[in-house]
Assembly symmetry: D2
Homo-oligomer: 288 residues x 4
């Protein structure tokens, strides 16, 4: 694992646009001797809304971690801001949900082991036993929640209890072939990432590679998005595509598409845990 980078703080902000916002926010940082590492802003003229990502070094910053949010709130409230503050030292605690396919799981575990993601993975949750050996190989707790029509509500409640118990921050559906419960979506709003194996909004729902083959598209895709109540309609975080041809059968698309699925999900998760993603009205601002 690479040596840890120096601690930083990150603010994700949005508010009604007006002149002077960047000056005010950077003034807050400068007045406490903060050194800005990354500043990105975006104005949606149609929405008259200002978006900003600000990352600064905590090294030499005059405020303690616990003081930052209270002190910033005066400024934030004056501009009707909504903001989220995070610290790089707080490693995100991620639960992976899987079913039977191993490609996204192994991909995330390998990235995790090499330290690329900077996360903790306290648990892998599944509705099947298939991937228990994969979890055990990497020394991660495997929690099976087999689902039947009868036990579903109970199992979903038990899942949420476990996630709370493990202080999970974010849920990643790494090819989890179940609809997640409204209660889970509520509790982890904009903190459940899914990977859908199509270029959304094309081919919503089941068997997208079959749909793509049937339609005769020349390019297939994968989409990672936050899960919302409406199936495959949540804010899109990242997408990628690859070229296919008439030679490719559905089985070929399934095989080829795995490469897209794993890289797209991993990239979306990387953006999420590095506080690059801001959700606004069912769309994302993904700062580069």
């Amino acid at each position: 694992m690479p040596s840890p980078a120096p601690e930083t703080a990150t603010l994700l902000i949005h508010c009604p646009d007006k002149p002077g916002l960047v000056h005010d926010v950077t003034g807050f940082i400068a007045s406490h001797h903060g050194n800005i590492i990354d500043l990105q802003q975006h104005i949606d003229a149609g929405e008259n809304t200002f978006f900003m990502r600000l990352e600064w070094s905590m090294d030499g910053f005059l405020l303690d971690r616990t003081e930052v949010d209270p002190r910033f709130s005066t400024l934030g409230r004056r501009h009707q801001m909504k903001w989220r503050l995070s610290f790089s030292a707080d490693r995100r605690r991620i639960a992976l949900f899987v079913t039977k396919e191993n490609h996204c799981l192994y991909d995330l575990l390998a990235r995790h082991e090499s330290g690329d993601l900077g996360i903790d993975i306290p648990v892998i949750i599944s509705n099947h036993e298939t991937l228990r050996p994969a979890a055990e190989r990497f020394g991660i707790k495997f929690a099976p929640f087999p689902m039947t029509r009868e036990n579903r509500l109970e199992q979903e409640a038990a899942q949420i209890a476990l996630l709370r118990d493990l202080r999970i921050d974010t849920v990643v559906l790494a090819r989890y072939m179940q609809i997640v419960s409204p209660a889970l979506i509520d509790e982890f709003s904009n903190r459940i990432l899914n990977i859908h194996h199509s270029f959304l909004p094309a081919f919503v729902g089941a068997k997208p590679y079959h749909q793509a083959h049937e339609r005769g598209v020349k390019i297939i895709g994968a989409t990672s998005h936050y899960v919302t109540a409406e199936l495959d309609q949540g804010p899109i975080i990242h997408q990628d595509v690859m070229r296919v041809s008439h030679e490719d059968t559905v089985a070929d698309l399934v095989r080829l598409g795995r490469d897209l699925e794993k890289s797209v999900l991993a990239k979306a998760l990387w953006c999420h845990v590095n506080d690059k993603v801001l959700v606004y009205k069912n769309k994302t601002i993904v700062f580069g």
Copy 2:
């Protein structure tokens, strides 16, 4: 304009699959001293159907152009083949349909002038006068057909009469902002190419860039397809995409997308006029 390549003949074939088809077809060529330049075949196992593209040199071939089809038909009928025979010496006669946007038009005219497409363009048809100067710059007849609710049927009939009169082989809708008539679609079955400014089947219909912006996709696309009776549902010939971000307004998508539209349409037309495309059950086989 580059010097003309030697004359070739091309057969596009499909039929029920069975052993020996390639051997039989290549036997026909070999027995008349033909030299194969390109042979591609594809088997759709699900459909149990055999597809083939065969191009051979007419130089030294023992049959005259007029004799090829009659002689091949014995073999073709024995295997229940459907086939299309064409000769490179027969330049395709293309009518371009445009409205007000010039990017696809200029792109095709520039390719035409440099000889890349190997086509004739006897006429540019439009429902507006806007692009008359563009046509005139390149010395191509400009035929305006302004459409009103009252004159539509009459104008559509006049268009078809003109296309017949000019012995047009293929119609290219190069950002033509009108629904074409069922009569035209019937007459030019699988010979009308359209460019749709989205990654179909996402964002069918009007204002696809607005739809894409609204949905917050991270990639936009363009699709060239043959026109069928159902809007934006015809067989896809070629697609391409590009990455966009939250920074891009609808106006940016419109501007950026033009590059996709013109290259995708030009590539589809190139495949079409070089007899690379075979349509089967609302999908295309595009031989490389």
Copy 3:
């Protein structure tokens, strides 16, 4: 041509990095009632250098166009900044240099006609007569400078005189098959754009498609860069690539590559004339 956007001013800045730079610069804008439209900054930690692009509306700004630079200079000098100030109302005057190939030329002329580039093109310069009709079709002055070993120095001097006379801001080598003179490079430092038909630094120099075919690469590319004294070694502005295969002959690569060349050059020019590009130590910062 679309209606003109409201006038903006743009500052491109770089200087040694230190805390408070964004705050100071945005303070300058805020104190004169400027409304920031785009702010992007980048810190090169290795170089300890700060880079910034700032665009603000001149609508309601308290300083006149002529006052901005003098007033900013106090701040700029305090931070050892190098900066470039430009106004959207000042349309760039571009000279296109061509030889015989028409694809980049027509592509730029079509974009110019549709108003996408927001430039003036007072002259097309060539060492051949081939593309005179293309220039004349678009009503642009065509200035031929045929080059021989004997007249070269004289012709180059005459070119520069013409460029000065026409108050040309930027030179675009749109497939100009001549080495440009050191005097021209000096006079238009970081204001001569070239398109090289390879993915630099692969295949420097002559006949890159032949080199690519010989090496058997599976992807070809095109690169637009600023011209410096060393051939094909200047700062890269934009690059793009496409997949090819063993089927593609050198002639195919030439044909296919044209699409890359024209879109890459046009994108680079768009970035350049919209003040998105900052050159630092033979590399570019291209603000998105």
Copy 4:
């Protein structure tokens, strides 16, 4: 693991081009009641050389596996063919060579476990102990060969002995940070795959991401090629690229590039083990 596909045989052929080759070869198959599954041919007009890939079902074929090659040789010799015959039932035995980086290794092991590659991996060889746990997790023999200046020749000989002993067919250098010995290259001609972390021929040799960053390229790449005596000069099998920007440090390129490296190496290996690759004069024909 998916159920095994029916057994097929594959011929990869090249020879001087002349009329009738496809007819003759398909005649051989037809005369023994073989059903062709895939037939691809390519003619290099410049080299006057004919290339072909032919795959047919062994189900119902009148010749035994051991009879195919002897019987075909009459035809092959008549046309001065060079050919390679393989059977899908013969699983390739692959040795993976690694050093310290785990991303390509885990990626290949995950694909192996899911059955995608259809190979056996009898051994993982390394010059370091770092990845022993990774090998052991997947139950694969780990053979360390630490290299010093003194023991190099001896270790290389021992490696080859081990590869022979394990009847290894193909060696994959999955980020193996050692130059392999001429003896190994000789013994496994066109059967050693390497992944180089640049878009070859750009950035040959050490630290390609540093070179790419220094040059300021806007796109990075990865290349899988067969290893020959000349460093990074072997026949290219597959390449891919991704867009980067001035924001990306060398560390970012290293991190981002891993995704390319693993997918490009895996794709190249898939083509290799499925007999899609034919090497001719330091280039590859990769049948689709």
